[in-house]
Symmetry: C3
Subunit: 263 residues, 3 copies
């Protein structure tokens, strides 16, 4: 039997909105450690990994490991019926082909339960090794989101270049070119507005803006985003979920001739 | 001659927005008692009844009973041109085939008059007898609106079940099922947030969500909605209009086999 | 070389949004006096004239007169990437076929440069003589915008009639007629809410609402709009740009038989 009670239910709503543009169907894996998901996007280019640790739940009961296949659009439809202040409980009986989402209003006047059919989904769990990155950029998630959206009006790809002084986002398209430079800034009044760069060596990589824009759907989950870059590895775009875990997006860089020569 | 002056003109704007999704053309009936309307929706399934009592108008002159056929979309187009703080006056000469809506801004700097052609509309006025209901639920109109909207993302019909403890709204569809229970709650700080149940006997009835959703367009008119239910009668969904009257929507329950057995 | 630095960059964003519905491609003319534009709309019915005087820029360097052909939709795409508090600098090298827009965030943490290709655009510059007008109406720009929008839901043209007491906007269409009268009002608490009429003689002219609605896209630039009317001249709809200049729209009146007789 599974029973996971999350006081801050809006968090689960935000998680779904963050990933359902990329992934249609996916297995949620439940174990003693936590509630997690790993899935490729439908075109098998990007990977999303979610972890909500058991300690983050008010009540966490998972008698045995369980993998629940869900259609994320249907799940999102149900979670949208939860109020932003509602407590959400996820329940499933062993061997059942359904999962139940229970929503309780803060004053307990309104209680809803939504039962959803589960699906059988083939999936392989990729092992993702810990890696060293040439450069790690931490910056306001709203800023990163705005930059990806702005550049999309000019071009299709973004070149992310990191130096000690800052990170540069560049694109080019039919109507012209654009460069946006964010300088390192650790001495801000509000820590969530900091831009911090940890760099082993300069790096410059090219990515499809379409995927970057999808990743930024996770911005409501965290004030800051971390972008980890190495020329031989997929970029990791991570949004921490306070006291619970994270959503990480992985995307391989594009190999472009002029980029090859630069790096 | 007809001249009806309504200081709170936004009220008439809200009335139009509340009914024009259901009804396209309708007769407004004007008598010494008040300004009223009764009309079936275009598929002849739901009935809407509006009353604005003469005492609610700052000035009310109606020399003889008058029935004015109006296209509600055109009337709504004109009323949307009134500011939310405007005073609205409805004027018509005896025997005229037009009606005039006059909008005065609060400081009298801007005065608009919109003249609309009237239509000949056949209509029969149904007598609606006063009835005893098995259960009457009074609840926040915004809550009822949210529930109907939420359930529409899962299914097409709603089962409304009333017990002494509360009222349950249920639906089922391809992706699963949903139940939302609102408990009776009379001891709230703000009276508009109360949920009050008057029950003679338990009742459980099924309705098309499409119509319920149309009815909730009247929510801006009133903080509370009253739902009156009996197994042999159409449900009445009523929104009171402060110090003036009401909008009432009538809808026959669906006869479903399993519902039949329950009741 | 050209380098124009505008501290209040949002102003340039608003200018673009004000004119890009009317004009697709246009030459921006840069001289020692200022940054200006004159263009006909694509159907050659309305004329727009923009002036931003050099004194309004924090830094203004224009070594020799320059005419830069730009696609306004592409330019608007780039300017939308500027934050509302950003400082905008327009740069061009002599003989270059590109223009660069630089956006600096207030704290200098983020610096963007967008380079756009210029176009060759044939254009003739019309001399617009200063004229005496029969009537000049100054009124809140939001009020004028609301009136044009409201009348558009009833008819296609607006008759603007000015008397000493006020200005009347009238229209007629299939569903009826509408008249909106704004009275002169100089004694308001906030000067931006005044409606002031300077009249030599009464005037009544007819215009296409479609163009009037386009002109009102400039409302965010100014709290007040000035409408100058004469029976023999195009109307001038002017939005002043504080301490910098103006946008003026010119539109010839429609010659309608019944209007001819009235005037």
């Amino acid at each position: 039997m599974l029973e996971l009670r999350l006081v801050q239910g809006s968090l689960l709503k935000k998680v779904l909105e963050a990933i359902r543009e990329l992934v249609t169907d996916a297995n949620f894996d439940c174990s003693g450690t936590g509630f997690s998901l790993q899935a490729m996007d439908s075109s098998h280019v990007a990977l999303v990994a979610l972890l909500l640790r058991s300690e983050g739940f008010e009540h966490y009961r998972c008698d045995r490991n369980l993998s629940m296949g869900m259609n994320l659009n249907n799940m999102a439809k149900m979670l949208r019926c939860a109020g932003n202040d509602d407590i959400i409980t996820i329940k499933a009986d062993d061997g059942s082909d359904t999962v139940t989402f229970m929503f309780e209003s803060p004053n307990q006047d309104k209680i809803a339960d939504f039962e959803m059919k589960l699906m059988d989904i083939d999936s392989e769990h990729l092992g993702i090794p810990d890696s060293e990155y040439q450069a790690i950029v931490r910056m306001p998630s709203s800023e990163f989101s705005r930059i990806c959206k702005d550049l999309s009006s000019i071009g299709d790809t973004v070149i992310i270049s990191v130096t000690k002084e800052g990170v540069k986002f560049s694109t080019a398209g039919d109507i012209g070119t654009a460069n946006i430079v964010c300088r390192q800034n650790k001495t801000v009044d509000k820590p969530e507005e900091a831009t911090v760069i940890e760099m082993q060596e300069p790096v410059s990589l090219t990515f499809a803006l379409r995927y970057m824009n999808s990743f930024t759907k996770a911005s409501p989950l965290s004030d800051q985003v971390t972008i980890s870059l190495s020329s031989e590895l997929p970029v990791v775009v991570e949004y921490k979920i306070a006291e619970m875990g994270y959503i990480r997006f992985y995307l391989a860089p594009k190999i472009e001739e002029d980029e090859e020569m630069k790096s």
